[in-house]
Amino acid sequence: MSEHHDVYHVTPFKTYMVVFLSLLVLTVLTVWVATVDFGAANAFIAFGIATVKAMLVLLYFMHLKYEVTTNRVIMASGFFFLALLFIFVLIDIVTRVPVESTL
């Protein structure tokens, strides 16, 4: 019932080292980016690099790349519903009309 391709997947040593080094480089990049002032974009760039690092860990260290789609869907749904909560709360807070006291 389960596909018999590489259920017990073994990732080669070299891949781990490459991924690890790129993670370190990205960390250095994040720190460097923070020192340069891109204005408001700083937050998004930092978040972007962090997402790239996160994907690296997810795909290679956690073998999500070689996983069955069900497990990928499970992981993705975690992030999806998080984004959902954020978007709807943001919609509420951004469109609130503040009321001022006139006393």
């Binding site: 389960s2 073994v10 960390t27 720190v31 923070a34 997810l58 260290f61 975690g78 998080l82 943001l90």
Partner: protein
């Protein structure tokens, strides 16, 4: 209780499964489900963080100044290394080299300890300055109203993450002991992989925590 005593190394499986492979994939799926709940729980904190950062940007700028990004960077490197050694630990067990795997697991636990050590230094430095969360704040607010809210976030996020690091270290120690006892082999290493996945998620959360908390210029 009933399935503990059977030596699992040679591919034996629990009675209610059809095959060892089915048991392995089911356990993996169970761990992935648990990990998505961890993401959702920490995610709640991150959502609150972004909402309040949008509402009170000055609080987060002023608060971040009291954090030293050097500690944060070192901690990131430490956790990334521990993720590597965790992955290598599983790698070696899959190859049957249990002793090499054991050393990797021990390094992982040590990295976790280093991480907590650095956190301890940071926390005591802040407590010394009176930078407590919320109402207990007794440091100088530097003219920014509600500054303690930043430290509430700082302690909540790094605190909850720290607890998970300790949980992870405990789990890895338990798995290391069982590796030393020779419970695992290329055909059966589910607990190691499960604990490894949990540890990677703990590292994943720190990867997001570091830029958001420490690198706000």
């Amino acid at each position: 209780m009933s399935t503990g005593k059977i030596i699992r190394k040679d591919g034996h499986y629990a009675h209610h499964f059809e095959s060892a492979e089915q048991e392995y994939t089911s356990s993996k799926q169970g761990v992935w489900l648990f990990l998505s709940t961890e993401i959702l729980m920490f995610g709640g904190l991150f959502v609150a963080f972004f909402i309040y950062k949008g509402m009170y940007p000055e609080i987060f700028h002023k608060g971040a100044e009291s954090l030293s990004w050097v500690y944060g960077a070192i901690n990131t490197a430490v956790l990334l290394t521990s993720s590597l050694t965790m992955a290598l630990g599983i790698h070696y067990i899959q190859k049957g080299k249990n002793s090499a795997a054991l050393t990797q697991l021990i390094i992982t636990v040590l990295c976790g300890a280093i991480f907590m050590g650095i956190k301890y230094i940071e926390y005591s430095h802040k407590f010394h300055l009176g930078l407590y969360p919320g109402q207990m704040f007794s440091g100088e607010t530097g003219g920014v109203e509600n500054l303690p809210l930043y430290f509430s976030f700082y302690y909540m996020m790094t605190g909850l993450h720290g607890i998970h690091v300790l949980l992870g270290m405990g789990l890895i120690t338990w798995v290391a002991i069982r590796t030393a006892r020779g419970d695992f082999g290329p055909k059966y290493y589910t607990p190691v992989e499960g604990v490894g996945l949990f540890w990677h998620v703990v590292d994943l959360i720190w990867i997001y925590l570091f830029p958001l908390l420490y690198l706000v210029e």
